[in-house]
């Protein structure tokens, strides 16, 4: 399984491209994920006491919980679709390193989640009456840092639960604990930014998220091939 790095990257790009292309053609997953996200945002608005809590106070948590749930629904199908027509066996037989398979799936999932997040953000502004003025670059930065790490772990768990019984329940049970650091960080930083605080104040969280990303992306790349060792 030793191959040159450029070959691995190229194979990963092909796999990610394949996933995104089939996603673009069908659009069912994307549309349902976006509708799902919009629904959670709306429900959040009604799941509060309007006389005690203003929508703005709930806004960062509502946004990030929405993104987390939308990501789980996206991840749960990342490998499940490959089981149809035995496509996974074809992928495993392809002469590419398993690391490339992981990276391809990871990049595909990451793009998908980023697209959902970038559609959810304007909806969030609309429903929660927040102003992104000056906060947008910081929110994009924290969104990237928060998403990368848990999508990496989520990609491993997606492969792991695809063939397990009760997979639609097993994935969130395994993955949600891993969302605590990214979600806590993202919600805190978003709240600080929306209150007009400078990004440097949140440097501690950004560092923690960066270390989390590096740790779990590396670990996921290293550990993913052992799922299929036969």
């Amino acid at each position: 399984m030793k191959s040159a790095l450029p070959g691995t990257i190229a194979a990963a790009m092909i796999i990610a491209g394949k996933d995104l292309r089939s996603e673009l053609r069908r659009r069912t997953a994307l549309v349902s994920a976006v509708v799902f996200a919009a629904l959670i945002l709306v429900i959040f608005n009604f799941a509060r006491d309007p006389t005690a809590l203003r929508a703005e106070q709930l806004a960062p948590s509502a946004f990030w919980i929405t993104c987390a749930f939308a990501a789980v629904t996206a991840l749960s199908r990342a490998f499940a679709v490959e089981l149809e027509h035995g496509a996974l066996d074809g992928l495993l037989l392809a002469p590419v390193p398993r690391e490339a398979l992981f990276l391809g799936k990871f990049l595909g999932n990451l793009t998908f989640v980023f697209v959902v997040e970038s559609i959810a953000l304007p909806l969030f502004v609309l429903f929660f009456n927040v102003s992104l003025k000056g906060a947008l670059p910081g929110i994009i930065l924290v969104a990237v840092l928060a998403t990368v790490g848990f999508v990496a772990v989520g990609t491993v768990f997606s492969a792991l639960t695809a063939r397990v019984r009760f997979n639609e329940l097993m994935l969130p049970v395994l993955l949600l604990p891993f969302m605590l650091p990214p979600l806590a960080g993202a919600a805190q930083v978003t709240a600080a930014l929306l209150n007009g605080r400078p990004l440097v104040e949140s440097a501690g969280w950004l560092r923690l998220l960066l270390v989390y990303d590096i740790t779990f992306v590396t670990l996921s790349v290293l550990i993913f091939p052992s799922l299929f060792d036969e």
């Binding site: 772990v153 491993v156 768990f157 792991l160 639960t161 397990v164 019984r165 009760f166 097993m170 049970v173 395994l174 949600l176 604990p177 891993f178 605590l180 650091p181 806590a184 960080g185 805190q188 501690g204 969280w205 923690l208 989390y212 740790t215 779990f216 670990l219 996921s220 550990i223 052992s226 799922l227 060792d229």
Partner: protein, 236 residues
Amino acid sequence: MTSSDARGAARRALRAGRVLTGLGLLAVAAAYVRAIAFTDIEAVQGPAQKIMYVHVPSAWCAFLAFGLVGICSGLFLWLGDRRLDTFSEASAEVGVVLTGLVLITGPMWGKPIWGTWWQWEPRLTSTLFLFFLFVGYLTLRRTMFDPAERARYSAVVGILGAMLVPFIHLSVYMFRTIHPRPVVLNPEGPTMPGSFVATLLSSLAAFTLLYLGLVTMRYGLGRLRELREARHVPAA
């Protein structure tokens, strides 16, 4: 190793586990007699403080249990020895019981002393997530039949889970430093009298012995079950 050798080893582990568990239970009982009858009552907290002699040792053993799950999972992926997987499962099961004990005794102490059942404090939250991870790990094992696949998959979860715990600890720590709460009391107290420390340490030793006994017993049982399954279903 032939299968009868392996069965013999598994039975020996089971027997040793029973003996260790018996000794561990006796030691826990002895440590508790010491804690209740022969250790002074703490001036501020009163009798509630006695819970510490169960709470702290079980927390310590729970973290030990999960650390060993992580290490054995890593070693399993490296060496491929099924016994490491059986040990991880045994340790995770005992770990669930121990984290459960921590999460039950903690609020019992917290309500009279802190005035609240629960605090979003780094150690509490880490223990709670340890419990979630253990339960997720064991649930995953229950949903899978193929032993080789189950061993690989759960090793992956074990390693990732062990790596997550420090991040959770750090996140909750940062969460609280940004939003400080009026914490009632430092759970450790600044200093402890020598007799308290001695009781705590003897209780710690007793719980560690109990952990080792339960894990060894569970490991022996797990091995026996595997060997019996292997006899009925020849390995592919």
